[in-house]
Every structure is written in C-alpha cells, then in structure tokens.
Symmetry: C2
Subunit: 226 residues, 2 copies
Amino acid sequence: MTYGETTTRPREVEMDGAAASSERLSLGVAARLSRYLQVLTQAKKMGKETISSQELSDYTHVNSTQIRRDLSGFGKFGKRGVGYNVEALVSQIRKILRTAGQHNIALLGAGHLGQAIASSDIFADHGFRVVAIFDVDDQKVGTTVGNQVVRHTTELRQMVEDEDIVVGVLAVPTNAAQGLADELVEAGVKIIFNYSESLLLVPPEVTVHTSSPAVDLLYALYFYLT
Amino acid sequence: MTYGETTTRPREVEMDGAAASSERLSLGVAARLSRYLQVLTQAKKMGKETISSQELSDYTHVNSTQIRRDLSGFGKFGKRGVGYNVEALVSQIRKILRTAGQHNIALLGAGHLGQAIASSDIFADHGFRVVAIFDVDDQKVGTTVGNQVVRHTTELRQMVEDEDIVVGVLAVPTNAAQGLADELVEAGVKIIFNYSESLLLVPPEVTVHTSSPAVDLLYALYFYLT
DNA sequence: TAGATTGTTAATCGATTAACAATC
DNA sequence: TAGATTGTTAATCGATTAACAATC
C-alpha cells in the first residue's frame, strides 16, 4: 500500500433530509442502530425530549464517538451543544432500518413464555403485532391469551397466508421446535425467533435467531470474574 | 508505518494442556466462545460425539476459519480430518470462560415470565442455578414455582448474602424494575439480567444486560428486507 | 492411500477512538 | 459570551477471510 495518497471515500449524496441510503448497512451498524432505537423508544416513553451521544453511550455501552459517527453517516440529526431530538431520531433510525411499518408475527406456544410474550408490549413498541397464537394442546386451543384466541397449529399455514405473517416466534418445548420450524418454513415465514433450546436447521433463505440468556450470562460473568 | 518488518507477536506459553490464558479475552472472542458453547451443549445432548468447524459455522453463522482461529489460540483441540470432540471442547471452553463452576441466581418476579424461566433448564444447562424466587404480590408469596417457594422481596438482601447470589434476573413490570435493581445492587449483586423494558441506571461496577427480542427482530428484519 | 479437516499465515477490511474545530 | 456537544478527521487496532500445508 502506498501512503501519503489522499483516498477519495465514496460518499452518499445528500438527499434532502432522506436518511435511507441505497447501500446495505454492515452487520455492526445495523445492530448498533437497533440498540439506539431501543433506548430512544424507552426514553421517549419517559418523556425525554433530547438526548446526547454521551447519554446514549451510558445506556448502550457503545462509545459516544462511535454513536455520533454512526448517525452522521446518514445526516446531521444533532444540534451542537444540545444533543439529539429523541422523537426525530427515532423516526430517522426507523427510516434507516426500513422498519417504519407494521409487521405481523405468529406466536407458537401458549404456555408461560407464550403468555408472557403475548401480554407484553416489547414487540408492539417496535411495530410488531402478534396476530395469531398457536398451540397443539386442545386444553389451550380456544382460550384467550393477550387479545387473541389460541388456534390449533393445523391452522398455521392458512393464517400465515391470510395475515401476511413474516415472523414466527417459537415458545415451545425443545422437542417440538424443529417440527414447527419446518411448518413455519413451509408456510413461507422468513424469520424465526427461537426461544427453545433446540438447534434449528432451516433453508439458507430463512433467518433463525436463537435467544440464549444463559449465553449472555456466561459472557457477562466472564468479565465479572476477570 | 514501516513495512517489510517482521512483527513478533506476543504468544501464549503453552501450558501443558491448560487452556485458560492469563490475558483477558476480547469482547468479541468471549461472545463467540459463549455461542460455540451453546451449540456444543445442545449437540452433546443430542448425542453428537464430534463436530467440525463447518458444522459449528452452520449453527452460529460465524465463519469456520474464525472458529478454528478462535479455538487454536488456546490449544490444539481438534483432530485433522475428523473435527472436534464435542465433550472435550465443552470443558475446554468452560475452562477458558472460567465458568466451569456453579453460580447462583435470584429470580425477581413470579409472573408468567418468571415461571417460564424457573421451569426451563436454559440456565441450569450452563451451571446457573435459580436458588431463590421473589415477588411483591402476597397472592404469589408462599406458592411453589419451579422447585422453589416464592419469597417476598423483603427477604432479598438476606438471601443474596446467605446463598452467595451473583446474578439477579428481573422478570418484573417496567415500573418496578429500577427499584428492584437498586435493591439488588445494595444487596451486592454484580450482574443484572433485565427482561423488563425499563432503562436501568446502576453503578459502573455492576453489569446490566437488557434482553431485547424486538431489537434482535428489527435487526433480522433489516437483512430480510434488503 | 485418498479424503477430510485442522492449524496457521498473510493480507485485507472494517471498527474503534482520541482529538478538536465548528457551532448551537 | 461561555459552555456544551456535535460532526469529522486521522490514526490505530482488532476482526475477518482466503489459501494451503500439515496431518488425522
């Protein structure tokens, strides 16, 4: 590599306030923007109007310079000496992540975990709507959980089609997970959120996210112990 | 920077099979090792005896070269042409992450989520043991959840001391989370696992991990939409 | 042996951060 | 104005990956 050479970096053409760029975000940037969004959403709920990169850093543990850098790649959202307007930043990041709209979720499993998910608004806050809940247990089918009537999993395919469901959440026992994952895939769901311990095998075009609190805990513990 | 210069890299002294190094792992390495451990633990349950870096890659979405590289930093655990012995690798990684022992957890909240956590073995599989469950609701105090009797949160401090609890898991409503986090901190807990939506402020020596399925989902959705 | 898979190198690429001028 | 905080540069650092010899 030669140096002393001034590299002209590719730069996004400023698009009159439009934050979304045509290039795909890197994994890291997308992950961090999502975390900022989480904090901002909660800050907004608490009535906070502006937030500084330092405050965002305190909550996310992301370096404040990096936060400013991440954001400045899409526009000048902040005000020097003041910080960022919480509400405006929320909608900018939603635009960047292209998740400004509503997305429909199918919840599989009406046990304790399923009920916890259905009655919380963690998903609702971010534009995800649980539009159907399924279980195989006839005792549970027909009962109401959250604001949905529990259906039998045999109705899965039809509901995915009718309700335009893009995400399936697996809150079922380990041994039932792979079978239901297969059914979700066949029904056309492209993102599976796995709360079971099962390792899931799916076609490459389907994304699986496995929730693993114990893994996160191991990781936190390491830094506590060292 | 000059080049053509051969940099001598610091290298761990081989310690006769001992995998744990004296240097602190980087954030990235610790996070990835935890994920390998999760997959290996499940693979072991399923009776798998060996696993290749490619198989680990399929499940973790970490590049197979990087997996081999991460592991080879601590010893030669694999067998060429065969792969890694699942059971041996589990114990090596546990040694590296220093989580070979048992660690005690306090669970706050005996609602649906608390019950789901108490009756699952996601934590138990990794050496975490729920040794106490708390709630403020007198209806719930005294009932049995998992294999524990639910206690009132007034007993928190004493139990943390008696049972040597290092981790507190918050499975409570958003508006109760900060208050209980404060109590956990006062009781001496160093790691808080937050399942509520609340943003928590804690002293710098305490680690908070906030679970955020919706954030993970946003992130997955971005790569699906683009 | 032939095939498979590790361990390791060497090169590239992107993430991270300190520092500070710009400016609200 | 004075103080605070952004936006941006320039440099460093660590992560990532292709490639392949070693070897089971």
